[in-house]
Amino acid sequence: MLKRILLLAALLLSTGAIAEERFITVASTTSTDQSGLFGALLPAFQRDSGIAVRVVAVGTGQALRLGERGDADALLVHDRAGEDKFVAGGFGLDRRDVMYNDFVVVGPSSDPVGIKGLGNVTEAFKRIAAAKAPFASRGDDSGTNRSELRIWKSAGADLKADGIGWYRELGSGMGATLNTAAGMGAYALTDRGTWASFKNRQSLVILVEGDKALFNPYGSILVNPVLHSGIKAADALVWHHWLTGPKGQAAIAGFKIDGEQLFFPDAK
């Protein structure tokens, strides 16, 4: 019996040591992860560099906080204002453009408010607010959530006062928010990548797209290795350069779902 326990204990202690591969940790967003982009990028990067990338997919707000605490070696996020603040605060280095896609407004195909085909997302949000039509918001301080709140602001909506009963803050990831929106026939703002790979659409369709306010750029940032010990700065730099270099950019352009390109490389 004692022997068996010791054996099990030895087995258990070895779990931490199983994967002694060379790796970095990248905090990124649910939108990039759930679209399947990393599944296309990471094997190619590992082949080129011998470095595995462990992706922790959270909202952009949380990804930035992981970076501040040194729990990731690099970030791939989408909130330009938050990214610049992160770098200005000394937490990150060398923010670079990586790629962009766009947000779209989805809603029930019956479109009770009549926003389908509008080229102006601010106008669409004004109509939703005026009609008090159900709207499902991430409410999780993610990049998408921050963009959504900026649109509400430009639409002049005071959600705290007027949002009661129709503006639903879910505190969830993009997919979970779409599940809820589909369930209650609500409008929602989503990135195109998550939407393209999302399977439980029910009656949801794209209603508004193409406004330049819906532009969704992603940036790669190195976490400042000076702040915490243990940050893998050298390997993170290899990743940072690969992602923004010709090979990474080509891999991003080559990632498609049902023949549709979801992310457009724009590193300079």
């Binding site: 258990l12 779990t15 759930q34 659409r201 010990s229």
Partner: protein, 234 residues
């Protein structure tokens, strides 16, 4: 009920096809939860027995605290462990965050109160029944603990199974300290949460069916071993 039948066939396809990715996830889930339960039993059984037998000031408070900790919210435990293991935290230099070891630590903390509280109750009841006898035989303190733990082994096994159920089912703690990293820290529960958020409900439910099947298999195995042991002992 279209979803349920789709889920069942998805589950069947995954099991029959021995999907390697799924096998890795199942293996990690069992390894993490099994390790946590083992650690919790190694600490919790003696701790529970000691609490049942020792008399010291503040014992009642400690018993209440441990009983209450059976209801620890996993997400809070996950957050606390995250803050400890974060590179900005006190144990950051060990690099344990986002590893299976971190998940084992978190689940051990969740399971330990269950094992300790239930085994304290089992041992306390046995002590009430056989205390006089053991005292008259002049048994030593460690001898009493060992005897009572052995006598209560079948009830204690149920306590350990309760702990295993808790570990297998929780998602809040492993999500935070493990990070749900594909191929490294993705367990059954975090995979289910992920597939749900991708809107792939049949796959999520299919994984759920497999998880429940695994838990049933583990419980059945323990039950059969217990039966056999009982028969042998007469």
């Amino acid at each position: 009920m279209l979803d349920l039948s789709a889920a069942l066939s998805t589950a069947a396809a995954l099991v029959i096809g021995l999907d390697p990715q799924m096998l890795a996830i199942v293996r990690l889930s069992l390894l993490v939860s099994g390790s946590a339960v083992l650690l919790a039993a190694l600490i919790g059984l003696p701790l529970g027995a000691a609490l049942a037998l020792a008399a010291f000031p503040g014992r009642g408070v400690l018993v209440v605290m441990i009983n209450a900790c059976m209801g620890l919210p996993p997400v809070v435990v996950g957050l606390a462990i995250y803050l400890l293991l974060s590179r900005a935290g006190p144990l950051g230099q060990f690099g344990l965050l986002f590893t299976p070891s971190a998940m084992v630590v978190a689940q051990t903390i969740l399971v330990l109160p269950i094992v300790a509280a239930l085994s304290r109750q089992v041992v306390a009841d046995l002590w009430g029944e056989y205390g006089e006898q053991l005292r008259s035989l002049g048994a030593s303190r460690p001898g009493v603990v060992a005897t009572l733990l052995w006598d209560g082994r079948f009830s204690l096994l149920t306590a350990i199974l309760a702990g295993f159920g808790r570990a297998c089912a929780e998602v809040g703690a492993v999500m935070i300290v493990g990070g749900n990293i594909s191929g490294v820290t993705r367990t059954m529960t975090t995979a289910i949460a992920l597939e749900t958020s991708k809107g792939d409900l049949p796959l999520a439910l299919g994984l759920g069916i497999i998880l429940i099947g695994l838990v049933i298999a583990v419980n059945a195995a323990v039950f059969l071993v217990g039966q056999a042991a009982r028969r042998r002992m007469g």
